[in-house]
Amino acid sequence: MAAIIELENISKHYSPTIIGVDNVSLTVEDGEFVTLLGPSGCGKSTLLRMIGGFETPTHGTIRLADKDVTWDPPYKREVNMVFQDYALFPHMTVGENVGYGLKVKGLGRLEIETKVHDALKLVGLFDKVKLRPQQLSGGQRQRIALARAIVREPKVLLLDEPLSALDAKLREQMQIEMKHLHEKVGITFVMVTHDQTEALVMSDRVVVMEKGRIAQQGRPQELYDHPASPYVANFIGTTNFLPGRVIRCTGERAEIEIGGGRLSAIVDAPLVAGSTVTAGCRPEKVRLLAEGETAENVLEGRVAEVIYYGLGLRLAVELADGSRVYTDSLLPDRLALSPVPPLGQSLRLAVEPHNVFVFEGEVTP
């Protein structure tokens, strides 16, 4: 696979102190589905808009299919954008909207009609060709916006929070639909979102951004299982953070003393004994121990809160030092965890060493 987008040391300084994007380098492969993920203000949208040509970087180079496009206006770039509010033209019909971008290509009327037809068919809305955008539902508008962008057969499709205006149910459905669309058309997709689930579900690769920089990038599973920083661990999924101190570290195994007990962890790099660290673990990787059962990392505490979320239960367990650990358990059937532990009941929890992340220093998530 060849690189389709190459961002080289891209920065966007609004003023010497206000920096939108800070020295970002990123390569997107042809056909990839890459998501820029982060909270608002992290620079992900600015980065996307710079790829689209709506903003220009103050430093760095943008290459599109080996061509330097840093200074090209949007209408000279072979990329198309699906805007957050879809930006459909209210004074045009659905058909005119989709055909709009073909008019400049010097195509014949018949050819345009065929392409519009195909694009609308692809998103399943051919029967709406004569309607105005305002006559459509949010989800339908979303699809028209998609059709309008892909009908031009761009090298890259840019999606700026494409699903944020939809309700939860429709959003879930569209996530899958767009993933399929991506597979079908084979165009490179670059999406911006603040929704980690969306990112994980849809993308081949997720780029997590923090304060204008790339915090971590990788396949969804990589990011989930091996967050490189508390920021990533916290932004993707839920993580229990437990402050502690390294007792010893031999090879890849570290012993951490935390307020409510001790934890063993498998670490990538050796840690200095006595240094302050923060241990982290995903709630679903924390297991409730049955009576008499033993495990390597055991924490004891009392049930402080029970949260029921349909698919399972989340218990907040308060350790001896007052810190809380969340544990998720699925409810495959009614009997697995019945009765629900009452508040205040003592419990023992366990987490496998390879499921414990250790971050240096103190973390205030």
């Binding site: 209408y75 930006a87 033209f89 004074h91 971008g101 305002q134």
Partner: protein
């Protein structure tokens, strides 16, 4: 009792505006319409029902001539206002980066509305006059040797003055229409391959059309009914329909003919307003 009270408030809410309309709009129009069928008879005029006044208006060339001239001047004022106001409003909305400057400039255009109409018209008299500011300027830069009299007391001066006076009514609706266009629509046009010029023609202009229609209607109707600019800066060929109406009600003491003229004028204005309303409505369904 609460029923009665509700009835009373209903009467107040609906009744007062209706009374207002009946008393201050329908009644005067009714009177004018009635007069228009009366007939002139020394010393004044007498009740009658005949269409002679209307026949006069469309057979005596002097009225047709003035009507056509008034239409011409009004169209020119509307077009001139549009050509000046649109780029200005466009620049304010899309290009002016400083919000402070934008507000300031917008106010600068609107502020003259609070200055007396007459004062503003007089200003143009001093600018365009033979010994006026414009001539002095042209002389000082050596473009002309002798002061020219071509600027004042003609239709050009009327168009300039009326344009100046009524341009706020063009700037305001266009500004509002342009401001309402979401920025991402022009971005979308650029994204879909349209250069700035084509994007303007296919997106910005059609979406601001309701503003243009509103502005053109206002400037047209205001110019169409104006009778002071002809008086102050118009020349011997500057008589407009409102001047003729004033003459018929005053010097000629021919209220019936004046009323018939007023009705014709009203019909023209109402036609324009309803056309523009239809256009705006069409634009509104295309709105966001």
């Amino acid at each position: 009792m609460s029923h009665a009270r509700r009835n009373l408030s209903g009467v107040m809410v609906l009744g007062i505006p209706l009374l207002w309309i009946a008393l201050f709009m329908l009644l005067p129009y009714g009177i004018i319409v009635t007069f228009s069928f009366w007939v002139k008879k020394y010393p004044t005029f007498v009740p009658a029902f005949q269409f002679g006044n209307y026949v006069t208006l469309f057979t005596d060339p002097q009225y047709v001539l003035v009507l056509l001239r008034t239409l011409k001047i009004s169209v020119l004022v509307s077009v001139a206002s549009l050509l000046l106001a649109y780029p200005f409003a466009y620049w304010l909305v899309f290009r002016c980066r400083s919000a402070k400057l934008r507000t300031w400039l917008y106010m600068a255009v609107i502020a003259p509305l609070w200055v007396s109409y007459l004062l503003r018209a007089y200003v143009w008299k001093t600018i365009l006059g033979t010994e006026g500011v414009l001539n002095s300027f042209l002389k000082s830069i050596g473009l002309i040797d002798e002061p020219s009299s071509i600027f004042l007391y003609n239709q050009f001066a009327m168009v300039v003055t009326l344009t100046y006076i009524f341009i706020p009514f063009m700037v305001m609706p266009i500004y509002t229409a342009l401001e309402k266009i979401p920025a991402n629509l022009t971005e979308a046009a650029a994204d879909l391959g349209m250069g700035p010029w084509r994007s303007f023609w296919t997106v910005t202009l059609p979406l601001s059309a309701p503003g243009i229609a509103a502005g053109a209607t206002l400037t047209f109707c205001l110019s169409f009914g104006d009778f002071i600019a002809p008086f102050l800066v118009g020349g011997p060929d500057g008589n407009l329909i409102a001047n003729v109406i004033a003459t018929q009600f005053g010097a000629a003491l021919n209220w019936p003919l004046g009323s018939a003229l007023a009705i014709v004028m009203l019909v023209v204005v109402l036609t324009i307003v309803s056309l523009s309303d239809r256009m705006e409505r069409k634009g509104a369904t295309g709105g966001i």
